[in-house]
Symmetry: C2
Subunit: 456 residues, 2 copies
């Protein structure tokens, strides 16, 4: 089909929106390793997990066989408020780059949470409500997950307690007000509200926190509060399940126009967006129906895939969570305060870790300054001011498009534009003022934290 | 047609997007009064206006006869990056209110400028580029117009100098960074960069500025700089022409489903959104093809329609602009610093002023605190965090829906949701903390500024 017929933005009709989430595990030949009980080192049971998580979400977390989970009508109705997300053909970027490549991005920023996080937040809030809970606790890095969960909880009238990674809390004062608008309470982490927070503060005075540490606090709070459970915006398999809506919509939109991407690119922190975006395409690849090149892009300051180890590790700094087999930098690793709070996580989702281990996906790491250069370039031609997290994918998409310019290949590139950077202007200011630094952990630093991996 | 068939969001296809702007003046029986030369008090000629404005824009400003202006292809292509804007059926708000009313809103916030302002910015930048100019100057209140213009200028490689109303500059530090990302320079107004700025600072030391004053500075700068012209985001008839794309899209989307609104509501500052939204509907009303109730909503702190006078007045504080016949509070009126910077303008577009004078439209004023109450209520059920400006329309839409609840009438309400409030979190914080005030000017204050209206 000729390019002229493809609109700038492809919106699915409401009737074309996915009615079920896709569970990639059902098609994986090598299944991701099970979560382990940190005390017994045996696989976590449904019962054990249900102390921390909502029951239905535990079932989704453990299910490796069911390929499709129907999306409940209440969630589909909420999705209709801000979805389908547009699949955008980046005509202006292509022209600016002078590349023969065809670039598409799935834009998930057209909602107040500013990112794809809302896709899983509303699902998790729904199951919490259905279970009759009073509220949920969680952590947030960049603030996008916390905002998304606040919105979801407000919709279902649930209480919402958010532990926000301290460096983001300080960098993004207005994120707190958005969450407050939706009725959530927000605490900078590490805090003195939990035992684990106090311990971390004692061991690392002046720490700016990390996702791993905020998770520990939120879990402790949930377990110790009647009628509460903990919910998580990334890393878990249930999150990838919900986020598969990104990939399913993107694929449906491309299929409508007979377009098949050659390269699929996503930024990778805990893996929620990357996993969601690639799921249906990866399913085809595994089933031998099509071939795609997948690229995970992570910050050089927190390089789980490219410099981490595939091993069992704690999901959180406080070691209160189950052990997960994943690419990890060690749960003790606290990344330098960079401006992609959403990507500052020491580990990686188990499904993605297994796919990477099996050679089904590639990974690269990029430095902060080059990410912001790509972000600004993108903003100026495509209009959208991207989140720093999303800009990791932009950077590599541009690189791949420039390779096509050299070789003359007309590759089709799809990347995930996870969100907007409206609450990241302090970071953009640093970039404009030339004050941005490119921290990369030393080998010694990584060795030190990897040395502490649990013996499993 | 039954409600069940109407989706949550109606998106037009790219092929259904308007190919021409609609010029309401062509259908008006009483045409708006002409702009006058402040020295000769004779109608401004094309030649005189061309010293300040781009030539093609002057033609659009003065044309009362041409009903449709074709939208140039370059502008239509830019529109395709962020338009069509969705027409949303507010199912969740209706349910929450328990109203039989059917509420729709045209959402213009899905772009980085955060508002409808981009619709006219890209048109004005296009004509400036076509004329071979180096750059443009402008003013911005809330920062939305300045951001929009920065984006448009960046797209066409034009220089962009923005005078930003000081109180907004201080309330919204991150807006400046967005404009900077797009390569614009931003000066808080009043400034010492212009003669008029210096004069105003001398007369009102410590003033937080106003749109009228920033306009004077931008005009002076444009007129005194080779290769520059001045562009304006509201008030002018050309802006209403470009903004008609809002109403045209809204009408096309409603027509697709056979829906006819009973009440059409828009917030009113200079009139750009209100005029754009109502234009095609008002055209039908004037031509006797349909009847609609139109409501302009303005802040009680700056009540041009409801407490102003229909008279010739200066468009700017410095009195360097042409005289315009409009509803005005007097060009000397400097509104209290409220949190709807985009609505802090002493006058009103001449077309809208004439329509209001002719009884074709109603107007109400609302206080800041009740506006934020409506904003929060809306955000919690509809997901979108609205701009304070847009929330004026939300407030009255909710009021009208509640009247329907009392009477049992199933009226169809359409309102303009002009933008998002992501850069207004300081205002939301004040609201949450109970620190918001409701300033209303006294009769004496208004009399004093109205007394100074020019004798024409």
């Amino acid at each position: 089909m000729s390019n002229e017929k493809i609109p700038y933005k492809i919106y699915l009709e409401e009737s074309e929106m996915p009615r079920a989430w896709y569970n990639l595990r059902a098609d994986m030949k090598n299944k991701p390793a099970p979560l382990l009980n940190p005390e017994t080192l045996k696989p976590m049971t449904e019962k054990e997990l249900s102390k921390v998580f909502c029951e239905e979400l535990v079932r989704q977390e453990l299910d490796e066989d069911t390929a499709y989970f129907e999306i409940p009508e209440e969630i589909r109705n909420f999705y209709k408020m801000y979805r389908p997300a547009p699949l955008v053909r980046a005509y202006c970027l292509e022209e600016k780059l002078g590349t023969p490549a065809k670039i598409y991005y799935k834009f998930e920023g057209n909602n107040t949470s500013g990112s794809h996080k809302l896709n899983s937040a509303i699902a998790q809030a729904y199951y919490a409500k259905k279970q009759g809970l009073k509220g949920v606790t969680t952590e947030t890095g960049a603030g996008q997950w916390g905002t998304a969960l606040s919105m979801a909880c407000s919709y279902f009238d649930l209480d919402c307690k958010v532990f926000m990674v301290k460096c983001s809390y300080e960098q993004k004062p207005f994120r707190r007000e958005v969450m407050r608008t939706y009725g959530a309470s927000v605490t900078p982490s590490p805090s003195t509200e939990t035992e684990v927070g106090k311990k971390i503060l004692a061991a690392h005075p002046g720490t700016t926190g990390s996702l791993g540490c905020a998770i520990s606090e939120a879990v402790e709070k949930a377990v110790n509060t009647e009628g509460y459970r903990y919910v998580l915006g990334s890393v878990l398999n249930q999150v990838l399940l919900h986020q598969s809506v990104i990939g399913l919509e993107a694929k449906a939109a491309l299929d409508k126009y007979g377009v098949k991407p050659d390269i699929i690119i996503g930024c990778a922190g805990g893996g929620s967006n990357l996993g969601g975006l690639i799921s249906p395409f990866m399913g085809e690849k595994i089933r031998g129906e099509a071939d795609y090149k997948f690229i995970a892009v992570e910050p050089a300051s927190c390089p789980s895939f490219t410099r981490g180890k595939y091993a069992y590790d704690y999901c959180d700094t406080g070691m209160v969570c189950p052990l997960s087999k994943m690419y990890t930098l060690g749960s003790d690793f606290i990344p330098a305060p960079n401006h992609s709070g959403g990507l500052r996580y020491h580990g990686m989702n188990p499904i993605l870790s297994q796919l990477y281990e099996d050679g089904l996906m590639e990974a690269v790491s990029v430095k902060q300054t080059e990410v912001f250069e790509a972000a600004e370039q993108f903003a100026r031609v495509e209009g959208i001011l991207p989140a720093p997290e999303s800009s990791h994918a932009i950077k590599i998409a541009i690189d791949e498009a420039m390779k096509c310019k050299e070789t003359g290949e007309e590759k089709t590139i799809l990347f995930g534009l996870t969100g907007t950077g409206y609450f990241d202007m302090m970071a953009y200011e640093k970039f404009h003022d030339g004050k941005m630094t490119d921290y990369v952990p030393s080998d010694e630093e990584l060795e030190a934290s990897l040395k502490k991996l649990p013996k499993v």
